[in-house]
Amino acid sequence: MNRKKRFSLLGAILIASMLAGCSNNGGTNVTETGTNTPSASPESTETASAPDVTLRLLTDFKDIYPPKPDWAVWKWVKEETNITIDQETWTGPESLALSIASGDMPDLFTVFPGDAQKYGPQGAFLDLSEHMDKMPNVKKFLDSKPEVAQRMTSPNGEMYHLLNDGLGAGNLMVWFYRDDVFAKHNLQPPTTWDELYETSKKLKELYPDSYPFTFRHGVGTLPAFGPQFGVYPYMYEAPDTGKIKYGVTDPGFKVMVEYLNKFYKEKLIPQDWLSMDYKAWTQQVATDKTFMTIQYIGQIEIMNSQLQNGAHLKFMAPPLGYGDKAYIQKADYENYGIAVSSKTKNLDATLRFLDFIYSDKGKDILSWGKEGETYTIEDGKRKFLPQYKEPNDLRKELGIMTSTAYGVADFEASLSLSNENEQHSFTEAMKYQFPTMNLTPVLTDEERSGITAIEEQLNKYYESSVAKFIIGETPLSQWDAFLDELNKIGAQKIIDTYQVALDRLKNNIK
């Protein structure tokens, strides 16, 4: 029967919104990690006298911490600012679009940078750069984190959203390995891709039906391998030249594809690596079918909590593939932002709310809660009450660190609930971040529509070609033809466009 589901795009759009976390989402390019937040800060003072206002907030919906009206964070916001937050949730980016199209907009939105840059210029969101005088704490935050400020600034200097900050570390994709298996067979974690190959061979001999090395995002994993070969396989600001570079054309990238082809041929990676889903990946990790993998950093402990019989996963430094130093992606930045409706009738209260959540006090309360209520102090150190066992408990029960319930989060709060192994992972991971992010600078509407079609073709051709090189459907001798074709499609035009945007960005900063 013809099941007409014209609208079933939804599922995919949800997927896309998740993927947005790990793909280019139109941010700007950033070169240096920020300094720590300075100590003295102008606190919002007018709490007691502030008028009682209710603000409507539209956030995304997460089933692992579905919003509750009685979340303590909103109570704390009320106590500190006299603002009541009325939270609604969306179910996909259409909800945002529908809300804008209907004209019935809430005061505050949780947005992805791409949405802010799309709908902001259309007039839906307020240009917050014009209201910085009312938000001294936000301004202070932006001054202290210029690279975050850059990512939220549109080409002409407008600021249609404020980005969250503080929890980006969770976006890191890191290597990890089965330290119990390695110890048992007296193996060392590989430090180079050659060693990775040798170690995989040995493990394959020991466990013939295993695929010693596994990853699960298909071609989408290559950006995570890139930094071990000195590149990102897309357009990014090259650390050495400061110019936009297309990493696919770099010799380092070819070396990477050669390695992966070798791994595939010798069955050291799963033969269905392109179509594996999360479930398949979990199964492999849980059943001695794989021993080295790359995934989001939080997955180490999620898997460890499920492993049986002494099996254990541990962080592993990225192995070097090409060049002189192995990195992981620089990804400890956040991809969620907060936008304000251009039609808000509560402008002052909205700005006050934003200023509060970016203030030091707001950061503290919205990350830790209140003494006695959520934590106690032992030996001068804060400790969450025993009912909060893992970081997700804070979100689920209290609303801490959920969308728009913070501006800057104190990662220490979340980390304090991590076990030693996880804390080790985070500390180590920070050491290996690539100097630049895998992001492209923000384009103007005109620039974007000028390259959209080519960019899609380029990406599609790149993805399918690389997949075929790796599974050996196309011989590697065709590599130069592949590079020629990328040029023919118009890679240079895209590089040039991003270069213009990057130059503009650098000019704006000066």
């Binding site: 029967m1 013809n2 099941r3 007409k4 589901k5 014209r6 079933s8 795009l9 599922g11 995919a12 997927i15 896309a16 679009a97 804008i100 199209a101 791409g114 949405d115 799309k118 709908y119 259309q122 007039g123 839906a124 039906d209 695929y211 298909g218 071609v219 799963p270 033969q271 269905d272 392109l274 179509s275 594996m276 889903d277 479930k279 398949a280 199964q283 251009s342 974007r448 529509s449 959209t452 079609a453 960019e455 899609e456 073709q457 990406n459 599609k460 993805e463 399918s464 690389v466 997949a467 075929k468 599974i471 459907e473 499609i489």
Partner: protein
Amino acid sequence: MNSPSILKQLKRDRAFILMFAPVLLYFIMFKYVPMFGIVISFMDYNLFKGLGGSEWVGLKYYQQFFDNRDALVIIKNTVLLGLYKLLFGFPAPIILALLLNELRNAVYKRLVQTVSYLPHFLSNVVVASMLLLLLSPSTGWVNRIIEWFGFPAISFLQEAEWFRTIYVLSEIWQQVGWGSILYLAAITTIDPQLYEAARMDGAGRWKQTLHVTLPGIAATIVILLILQIGGMLEVGFEKVFLLYNPATYDTADVIATYVYRVGILQGSFSYATAIDLFMGVIGFLLVYTTNKISRRLGENSLW
């Protein structure tokens, strides 16, 4: 024509017009009023300012689609996938209904019927994850059977030449039982006297099926065929999206997935609407032509 004047006809049919009026009102209010939205395919739709504040861009989005060097491949993939689905997916429920009709044991018949429509209730997400499970080269049942026969395992979802087969088979699997319900309902309306008469003429089961059952459900078959031909190019987005990957783009990339990818890059409702309209026009031409042919052949027709 010597038909009575419109006024007379209206008078004659007033009861029917009265019946139809609320339905017509529904279609106007909920289908035709929103159809003004089609104009955004000729605009750079500004969500915030609405239609009044959006800029006209003419055929920009149509041109953009055809400028794509892959446009032909994408259209070809869409047409082929739709065509195979029609070719194999359309007869399947008819055959199933006929076979069910021949089952002698009533209890068994009802069991089969009930079970056969179960997969219709699974969402594409679940179907895709089942397929991944079954087709995995290392652990999937299908490959274990292939290996048991001594052949090497196949990475089904990674090989472009398998994509259409997998897609069409899984569609049939999902929809065959559900689709057969209509035909079974149609079979119940056949006058048993016709079977009796056929038996008297010495027709066996095969002949009875051919000369009584099939003609009895022919009207339903023809109408469904016309409708499905019209919807042929509407290849469901979700399932393709869940099952394809870069290695199978060559056969799996269809218009819906392409629009989706471009949409992500530029977030354009205008683009999606333009492609929708284009597909609608083709669908309409298909329906119109098939309907005409069907009428010529003296078969049932839509209008």
